[in-house]
């Protein structure tokens, strides 16, 4: 221990810091706050990123949509058989899904129709739902957020959907999705396809889009190209396109945070520059006295290094500690609104805890060494002078 850390110097540094108590407490507070804000932002983004990565692999490989004049239109169900005949295609499903605007609360629900007689769907649903009634295909299964909004509007047992012709369709609520899937299922209502078609006023020959599963990932691009050739009026979206668009979001968001980061850093640099351009006369005097009573340049710099390290590492640890508590413990009370938008249908912001070592290291190297340098450089300038020159 003594070989690496000189305890006498450490003691001197601590006492030297405590002599200028208020100045150092102020610097520590500012530095802690900076580290706290930045790491909170980064923790939230890394959690969302992870959340998306869990699920992106289980998406269908290809989504086929019909476009007319650049707008999305319903696609013919008859195309399913044609697409199924393409080599390499495993499974093709015509999906009926969309958004339903609930005027009373001003929110968009996401309605998803599933095949009534597909066993796998039924099993999946039963696994994921906390059922309140017997499992019945004519019921609706809703996310937690939807359940809360409906309850607020006195729809506890059933919900009245307004059909395109203005009439009402009453559908019982069969259960809510488990909170494990909250970030994915919050605004979702799962119904049978028949109910969906009547709510949207769609005929049996049409669907919202067609999803294609391809067994071999290497063949996805080829299959997508073939579908595009077969139906020139479609937009073919592969899973890879979605991944790229996620990458874009995170690059974009990281860019915004980086801009914030640079502004904070710039402020920090100004403080550092201000400090490094000169020491106060009392600080210069202190170094002069130390040199006069026989301290070497090495000792002075070591002592100053301890001072800088103590403050910056303390601020760093405290900042990270507070950020973890703020984001994962309290659910990021103020920052949450930035991420979840103005929508009424707010997800209960339970972000999964991800220990993002990269962020920690990034924040560490942008704060600690810079602060230490800002302490050492001016001290070195003074400490290289003669003692009498400094004290004069």
């Amino acid at each position: 221990m003594n070989r690496y850390i000189n305890l006498y110097l450490l003691e001197y540094s601590i006492n030297s810091l405590l002599r200028q108590k208020y100045k150092n407490i102020f610097i520590t507070t500012i530095l802690t706050f900076l580290i706290f804000i930045l790491s909170s932002m980064f923790f939230i983004t890394s959690s969302i990123k992870n959340e998306l990565q869990y699920s992106v692999e289980s998406l269908p490989e290809i989504t086929v949509q019909k476009l007319i004049s650049g707008k999305h239109y319903d696609i013919e169900v008859s195309r399913v058989d044609e697409i199924l005949s393409i080599t390499g295609v495993n499974d093709v499903t015509a999906r009926v899904w969309g958004y339903y605007y609930f005027v009373n609360a001003g929110v968009n629900f996401t309605l998803v129709g599933i095949e009534q007689f597909e066993k796998q769907y039924k099993n999946s649903l039963q696994n994921l739902v906390d059922a309140t009634k017997n499992f019945d295909e004519s019921n609706a299964y809703v996310g937690q957020g939807v359940k809360e909004i409906m309850s607020k509007n006195y729809f506890k047992e059933y919900f009245n959907f307004i059909l395109p012709d203005g009439s009402l369709k009453k559908i019982d609520i069969g259960g809510t999705f488990k909170s494990d899937t909250n970030l994915e299922s919050n605004d979702v209502i799962v119904l049978s396809k028949e109910n969906m078609r009547s709510i949207y006023g769609m005929s049996d020959e049409y669907a919202t889009d067609i999803v294609v599963k391809v067994a071999n990932p290497d063949e996805v691009v080829t299959v997508a190209a073939k579908i595009k050739l077969l139906y020139p009026d479609t937009r073919v979206i592969t899973k890879n396109d979605l991944k790229v668009s996620y990458q874009n979001i995170f690059d974009y968001k990281s860019g915004v945070f980086l801009a914030l980061f640079i502004v904070s850093l710039f402020t920090f640099f100004i403080i550092v520059f201000d400090k490094s351009s000169g020491l106060s006369s009392s600080e210069r005097k202190e170094i002069g006295v130390l040199k006069a009573i026989g301290w070497s340049l090495d000792d002075v710099l070591k002592e100053k290094f301890y001072e800088g390290a103590l403050i910056s590492i303390f601020a760093y640890l405290l900042g990270i500690f507070l950020a973890l508590g703020f984001v994962y413990g309290l659910g990021a009370p103020l920052l949450r609104d930035i991420f979840s938008g103005y929508s009424e249908l707010k997800v209960a912001f339970e972000l999964p805890f991800v220990f993002d070592i990269q962020t920690m290291v990034l924040v560490f190297f942008l704060s600690v060494p810079i602060y230490i340098a800002s302490i050492i450089i001016p001290s070195w300038r003074v400490a290289t002078m003669d003692a009498d020159e400094v004290m004069r």
């Binding site: 692999e57 989504t63 899937t181 979605l242 979001i249 973890l324 508590g325 930035i338 103005y342």
Partner: protein
């Protein structure tokens, strides 16, 4: 060896490090995603096939970036490029929705 103030400062440091470790362990135990949760998420997404999280429902696409809501402000971009700033960054007015 060390005077009282120095000792106290060092103890504060050690306490902070220990608190950080305890916090990490606590969060890892309570807030981290378990294998069963990941499985549930995967099963749910494969059931629905909707890629986006239900976090920012004011984006034009809401749940699938290729299908916009009827409240869209811009025409959607054919190559699915993210351009909608408020999907994550800007907080809109509380009364942005038509009541």
């Amino acid at each position: 060896m060390l005077n009282k103030k120095a000792k106290l400062s060092i103890y504060t440091f050690v306490f902070l490090i220990m608190a950080l470790v305890v916090e990490y362990l606590y969060l890892d135990k309570t807030k981290a995603v378990s294998k069963s949760q990941i499985e549930a998420k995967k099963e749910f997404v494969s059931l629905l096939g909707l890629p986006d999280l239900a976090i920012s429902t004011e984006a034009t696409f809401i749940r699938h970036r290729s299908l916009s809501s009827t409240f869209e402000i811009y025409k959607d971009d054919g190559i699915l490029r993210e351009y909608f700033p408020s999907s994550f960054i800007i907080m809109n007015a509380k009364n942005g929705n038509i009541k």
